[in-house]
Subunit: 557 residues, 2 copies
């Protein structure tokens, strides 16, 4: 075994072990540092990104012959990249004809190739970071981390879970059973892992890699060829991913058509017609509730895994670190301008105020401190744009305006555009904070994607918990957060979030935020409320992607 192979296989075993302890584990360094990735890696990545601009993106896969592409960087320029338009029939045929060899090479060989893809992706992390930054609008560091190493870790997590589940069934068994006084039936049984079929992974515009890699690697590891359909506004990160995967497959002697890119346009979307094809047996989707629900309802031939929208809540009851709490919340609201499915939207505070290490704080004081903390965090424009990034979709800016107009005098903190020091045309906007009463559900009981948050006067802590649970039950939620110095309140919130299936963070006051979800330790979404029917990465996310076909043969007496 060569050194590289030994390291790779060791990495896989460590990843598998990490899933059983769920402590901190990461395979791919998250610091965008030249010391780790090589001197000049950042500049090299930037040049590589820029080399893609204003050109056709070559992928040697079935195509209609036309070219598609209309990506615009939220930093204020068109990417000008054109991608080969799909030939769905040709792609499906090519994918299915690549299936048998990929299936037959076995679990361990597929795992090796998947690991190689992940390692190649990791080496291209800076290039991917710029691709993510200029499609999603994320700040550079976040684009690097979430789009690069963190996404790769999530992919490795899915790979590890898949390998571990597939290894549960032995390749072979000796079955011996006494079937008569002197007769023993002896059988040689063989078990073959068989993929479910063709897989379709539909990416989103805000986390094109992070939200797609778990499905991509779970599918590939279990033997399914994959069609990757990126969001038309965030194609490049997945186009690069597909290109890298195809190269790795080809180098390993497999048909690169095991991974193909299906590009469409907002005017002529292809997802519905593709998702309902009888050949498509697995669908993973991240995006709107409307389309996620449509997929769940209209694709009975496929196992459908969705992550949709939701309304995440914070319940503030009391704290022994008031300053840490508001600072932590301010960052959570501001990070990537709230364009995360994990960003809190509704912050419930009892109308009578809360007990803190700085004495009693009235509702207004808590709201005021939160506004002040956001202002302070974003005071330096250079730092602010790194935290906020850009608004991915112009519709989000309209949404901010609409909510602000409707709120009128209830606006606690207006959203404002911010001029990016390096990208004057970038679409940067600070968070809008609105005050509401807990009865005003028509205002806050809906997902308002983007930098929009409500500070809500609850009748009591119990009312706050009940409202947070109702939002999760009816609209879905991926995260919840609670601040309290009282164990009984924490227990009440825990029980409520268990009932509606929401991951809960308690008393976050330091450098970990409710928005963050760490591979190998944190489950992302639960699959138990309307925000998602799946969880990254639990066994239910992986196991339906394969079955077992067995052969049995009697052995001579």
């Amino acid at each position: 075994m060569e050194e590289r192979d030994r390291n790779a296989s060791d990495l896989l075993e460590r990843a598998i072990a990490a899933l059983r302890t769920r402590g901190h584990f990461s395979a791919f360094p998250e610091l965008p540092s030249g010391k780790i990735y090589g001197e000049g890696a950042r500049e090299e990545g930037q040049r590589a990104f820029e080399a893609h601009l204003e050109r056709p993106f070559r992928l040697d896969q079935p195509t209609s012959g036309a070219w598609l592409g209309g990506e615009e960087s939220p930093y204020g320029f068109p990417l000008g990249i054109r991608y080969p338009a799909p030939d769905p029939d040709g792609m499906i045929k090519a994918a299915l004809s690549a299936l048998p060899r990929w299936r037959d090479c076995g679990v361990e060989r597929r795992a090796e190739v998947c690991l190689d893809i992940l390692e190649r992706l990791n080496r291209r992390s800076f290039e991917l970071a710029y691709a993510v930054m200029h499609t999603t609008g994320q700040g550079f560091v976040m684009a690097f981390q979430a789009g690069g190493p963190h996404a790769q870790d999530r992919g490795l997590e899915a790979l590890a879970c898949a390998v571990d589940l597939m290894r549960r069934t032995p390749a072979r068994a000796l079955w011996e059973k006494r079937v008569g006084r002197d007769e023993v039936a002896r059988f040689d049984k063989r078990y073959r892992i068989a993929p479910r079929g063709l897989a379709l992974v539909i990416g989103c515009s805000t986390f094109p890699t992070w939200n797609s890699y778990p499905a991509l690697f779970a599918d590939l590891a279990t033997g399914n060829p994959v069609l990757v359909k990126p969001h038309p506004r965030a194609v490049l990160p997945l186009a690069l991913t597909v290109q890298i995967a195809r190269q790795a497959l080809d180098d390993a002697g497999f048909d690169p058509n095991l991974v193909q890119l299906v590009v469409d346009s907002e005017g002529e979307p292809i997802a519905k017609s593709l998702a309902t094809r009888p050949e498509v047996r697995l669908i993973d989707f991240t995006g709107s509730s409307a389309f996620g629900n449509w997929l769940e309802q209209h694709c009975p031939q496929a196992a459908v895994f969705t992550e949709k929208s939701g309304v995440n809540s914070v319940v503030v009851d009391s704290t022994d670190d008031f300053r840490g709490m508001v600072r932590n919340l301010a960052f959570s609201l501001s990070l990537y301008a709230g364009q995360m499915c994990t960003t809190p939207q509704n912050i419930f505070v009892p109308a009578s105020g809360i007990a803190t290490d700085q004495g009693h704080k009235g509702f207004e004081e808590v709201a005021g401190a939160l506004v002040e903390a956001v202002d302070r965090l974003l005071a330096d424009p250079k730092r602010a744009v790194e935290v906020l990034g850009c608004i991915q979709n112009p519709a989000t800016v309209e949404r901010i305006d609409r909510v602000a107009r409707a709120a009128g005098s209830a606006v606690l903190r207006p959203s404002a555009p911010l001029v990016h020091p390096e990208h004057p045309k970038a679409r940067v906007h600070t968070p809008l904070l609105v005050q509401a009463e807990s009865g005003e559900e028509e205002l806050y009981l809906q997902e308002l994607f983007g930098p929009i948050a409500f500070v809500i006067e609850a009748d009591s802590t119990a009312d706050a918990i009940a409202r947070a649970a109702k939002a999760a039950r009816e609209k879905g939620a991926i995260t919840a957060s609670v601040y309290s110095t009282r164990e009984e309140v924490l227990a009440d919130m825990e029980r409520a979030m268990l009932e509606c299936g929401v991951a809960l963070s308690e008393n976050l006051t330091g450098g970990v935020y409710v928005n963050q979800s760490a591979a190998f330790s944190d489950f992302h979404a639960t699959g138990l409320n309307p925000a998602a029917n799946a969880s990254l990465v639990d066994e239910a996310f992986v196991a339906p992607r394969f079955h077992v076909v067995q052969l049995r043969r009697p052995l001579g007496g």
Copy 2:
């Protein structure tokens, strides 16, 4: 720990280990012997069965107040048992209110209670055997084995798989990550297994317990309350199961409404309205393709697991044990009069005949030997009725007549009624064997449930394999069988069955039959062709029944 508990927990660990080796394992003795189950156990079981006849069956669960029941023993008498008619709203409410305590008691406690249910079922195996015999029409020994210990083994298998999968996620983790030069974030993380929600298990009329126990125990083990809806012609075995489970739950201090029986009638079926309830999040079904497909298409709120109908094939290429082959096939065709989803229907034999240890045999000779072997197997009526059992559904008798009329002179062996020595009114019919040509797909390329088989003249072995694969691909198949002395033929058949996802048995000539599927070793169905979207018991059958809800809390520096 008491002796009983230690044995129980040891049994669970052995069952879990057995799934990883897939050798022979059985927890519940399959011999209906007084030496094992106690002297007089059979008579006691018969008396217990008879005590249910002509009476109301008491279950203290929500009911409309009406009584339902029209079961007829295929052995020729009405059971006269009346069951409480369901109150669906009341039952759903009761089930959901029982959920939290069952969820919160944890994996190991639920496993203990499930094991206790299985052991109680095992002690009632003779009573269950008579209940299965007089609803399904199986012969006594089969009713005992398949309805009792084998079903219990399948339930234990599902329980073991569920416990093993749930144990993969630890209850707690310490997460430590360096987040700055001198700062380490330390978190206490807790993980709670959360059930998917209310489960519905829809039983079939031929194997009411065997086909339901995997779902019942997978659901219960993962924390889901279960509504058990038996087939209206085979209620008693599941009514007893539910009664026993409720008693065990009650004795363990849990709400018995975690398991409820939903009885309906053929005139007013309830499954559709129940299956589409938003509260129902898991559905398991065994039965017709029409209804199975309906469930897959109309219940997007639920994970739907189906086992439907199919067309199983045998490919005969050559054999070194001609006598063993025809004897084995004759038994497979006759067992329970072909009313198994695993019974072969289409036996492909090359028109040019086959090589055997008795020299070359022409097609006619092979067909003739098969007819003769069936005749010989069923020559003694006393033995014949034990093998054949009764025809469960009168519609099956009509089907035999219809196929025989259509076949005309192609009938190789007519089906005939047989007078049961002990039950003169019993509906006993011997197998119909029909000759066909491989082009006559309109005859044999459809499921003809019951004792109906075709001996089909194939152009060649390759044609036979291709036809078998086509049937599996288009109509579904749960089993396949091949006879050949040539490794390359076996390899071709293996490849073909892998492609269409069918478990393959090779060269069965002894006391193991293609119809049989052993818990802990054989996967029953694959989920990869139209006969079933699920496999008993693989990880995909169990994992979607639960998710994980996590809590995280910072630990003091």
